[in-house]
């Protein structure tokens, strides 16, 4: 994957992909059920949560969405909040790719997969949240152009369908191609992945911009109808993405006992230092415009930050989010953050949760309170919604764990890795 080193592996006469690709998949499957006791406990735990969520969703489909606490006033809630956050996480996951490829950061190259696999897992989760939010998931085929009726280009949801699925396919291709080449013991051909990498960088910007346009195009909801929404989404994505990856790198390091990723972590912390400040600036800008101007259009912001007519369910949430993001910013800006990993990890966790609140419940719900006819009907998620949310997050973490595991195993067994480490392995090259 190193751009500066050309492909020096002699090309075999024929690489029988029809035989090797299923082997690659079979190996991946075997990898995914093999591990130490920590792995089994983790996966069983996640499976249990996933099953609870799956059952909750099945009950929701059968009995109707009145089991959620949504109403005709607050008609999008926890599911769409998570969807929005996860699209951002998927976009942010590719943040590592930019310094790696645009700025030839060699150290970043080898672990850029961690970010791209995060993008895949996050997009799958986002799509699952959308499916769980549909009243009629059996009518999903109505969205397929040609089969159903696709209101493109007028409806922003159709743009979202295209960009999200496209992003998933691009990242599946990049990761799949790189892993498969590793599996074969061959150097990846830049022609087959570098254009896609650059495409995925642009596409990452677009998925979150389109998702923002879903909201900010609606004139009926003044809280959302701001030009700043898309930039805010992007900046907060570029806080939450790197935060997750920094934690993920450390977890993976501990799991496989390797020592790598210090340079990338430093790069990511530096990215976060900038993006978290820009995010705070944008929040301040929104708050100023809302409260300085005043008027009826600011009722939603008033509800969010200070409560409205005695309804103040969201007030503790948003102030926690503000506090978390500010503390995370202070911690990140501290020069000692590189030597004290507790400081860095705390900052990442705080930033991640703070952005989840701000972008999820702190953006979606105030769009509906007060309603368009200025009625206040509050919302707190029901148990069923929490179950489904937990189930989808569990599934996403499972996908991410497995894909990282498969990637690591492919890397370890790759003859290139053996050469790089200067040792020998007792494993045969896998290409035939």
């Amino acid at each position: 994957m190193n751009l500066s080193t050309p492909d020096t592996t002699p090309t075999p006469a024929s690489v029988a992909h029809w035989r090797n690709y299923p082997r690659f998949l079979w190996n991946a499957l075997l990898d995914s059920v093999e591990g130490n006791w920590v792995f089994y406990v983790w996966m069983t735990f996640l499976t249990a949560i996933f099953l609870v969520g799956a059952n909750a969703w099945a009950v929701q489909v059968r009995d109707g969405m009145h089991l959620t606490n949504m109403s005709d006033h607050v008609s999008w809630a926890l599911y769409i909040a998570n969807f929005t956050f996860l699209v951002g996480l998927a976009a942010g996951g590719v943040m590592m790719v930019i310094p790696s490829y645009l700025y030839h950061d060699e150290e970043m190259h080898d672990i850029v997969l961690i970010g791209e696999l995060l993008a895949i897992a996050a997009i799958i989760m986002a799509l699952m949240f959308v499916v769980c939010d549909l009243g009629r998931p059996d009518r999903f085929w109505h969205l397929i152009p040609g089969l159903g009726r696709f209101n493109f280009p007028v409806s922003m949801l159709t743009w979202d369908v295209i960009v999200l699925n496209g992003y998933l396919l691009i990242n599946l291709h990049i990761c799949g191609y790189l892993l498969y080449m590793r599996f074969l013991g061959r150097k990846p051909n830049p022609k087959w992945y570098v254009p896609f990498v650059f495409l995925s960088i642009i596409w990452a910007i677009s998925i979150h911009t389109v998702t923002a346009f879903l909201y900010c195009g609606l004139g009926s909801r003044p809280f959302w109808n701001t030009a700043l929404l898309a930039p805010r989404f992007l900046t907060s994505a570029f806080v939450s993405g790197p935060a997750f990856i920094i934690i993920a790198i450390q977890v993976i390091r501990r799991a496989i006992g390797g020592k790598f990723g210090d340079g990338p972590i430093r790069t990511l912390v530096n990215i976060m230092r900038v993006t978290i400040l820009i995010n705070l600036l944008m929040v301040a800008s929104e708050v100023f415009v809302e409260f300085y101007t005043g008027g009826t259009h600011t009722s939603a912001a008033h509800y969010l930050y200070f409560g409205l007519h005695g309804h103040n369910a969201l007030v503790p949430w948003i102030w926690s989010s503000v506090a978390m993001t500010v503390i995370a910013a202070i911690l990140l800006l501290n020069p000692k953050v590189f030597s004290r990993s507790w400081m860095m990890n705390l900052a990442c966790v705080l930033a991640f949760i703070g952005i989840w609140i701000e972008k999820g419940m702190g953006m979606v719900i105030p769009g509906f309170v007060p309603s368009v006819l200025h009625e206040v009907v509050e919302y707190t998620p029901s148990l069923l919604e929490w179950k489904i949310m937990a189930g989808i997050w569990a599934l996403g973490l499972m996908i991410y764990t497995l894909s990282i595991k498969i990637a690591i195993n492919v890397f370890r067994r790759s003859p290139l890795a053996a050469k790089a480490q200067g040792g020998t392995t007792d494993e045969q090259p896998l290409a035939s």
Partner: protein
């Protein structure tokens, strides 16, 4: 007499029979007309609306029925006759022998008869509308008599803006068809909704409170939020 809500119920349900039952001073009578363009004359006795579509298309229009009172109302005497039916008296059966008092303007002055009459209609005297020369008719402002069936003309003299709206179809509601080429409609006279002695629309309790979320069982009464 207190306003009779059976008018409103009858109008709402479109059930003509409901209107007819037991009404003392307004029984059902229809004035039907067919045909092409016609204009409304303000002072004429036939207080029916114009037909806007007909003027342009000359299509056959279905009738617009106006629920006018049948005639002079009769008052129950409280007695019943040999067959058990209540004995009703026309206005002139008493008033032919009494002396009209042009100053009477409150129900306190009517202590002996007309008990239970609620009167809140400005500072008009009774005989501003009732005809002292013939109690079986009403009188217009210039003292011309007008039949009870044409009471709308009397109301319109003072309440011209409402009558103008009524002529355009903007007052008094209707049941039936917006498209008179497809069917007719039924409309009210003034006194179907407004008791002539206390015409202000009565206070009612609202029905059918809205619910904000259906995942919560219905509460007995919807409390307003603390605004």
């Amino acid at each position: 007499m207190p306003p009779d809500t059976r008018f409103l119920d009858g109008m709402k349900s479109g059930n003509l029979q409901t209107l007819v039952n037991g009404i003392t001073h307004a029984s059902f009578c229809c004035l039907v007309f067919l045909g092409a363009a016609l204009k409304t004359a303000g002072a004429e006795g036939a207080g029916v609306s114009s037909d806007p579509v007909a003027a342009s298309t000359n299509a056959i229009l279905h009738p617009v029925i106006i629920k006018r009172p049948a005639g002079t109302p009769k008052v129950a005497t409280g007695l019943t006759n040999f067959h058990g039916q209540p004995v009703m008296a026309s206005c002139s059966s008493c008033h032919a022998t009494t002396t009209p008092n042009i100053d009477t303007r409150t129900t306190a002055d009517l202590a002996q008869f007309h008990q239970g009459l609620k009167y809140v209609h400005g500072s008009l005297t009774c005989l501003s509308c009732h005809n002292a020369k013939n109690y079986d008719t009403l009188r217009l402002a210039d003292s011309r008599p007008v039949e009870f069936t044409d009471v709308m003309t009397l109301c319109s003299q003072c309440h011209g803006s409402q009558r103008r709206d009524y002529n355009m179809g903007l007052h008094g509601g209707m049941i039936g068809h917006w498209d008179l080429t497809k069917g007719g409609r039924t409309r009210n006279t003034c006194i179907n909704c407004h008791d002539p002695h206390a015409p202000a629309f009565p206070l009612v309790m609202p029905v059918f409170p809205p619910r904000d979320r259906i995942s919560v069982p219905k509460q007995p009464s919807a409390k307003p939020p603390n605004h």
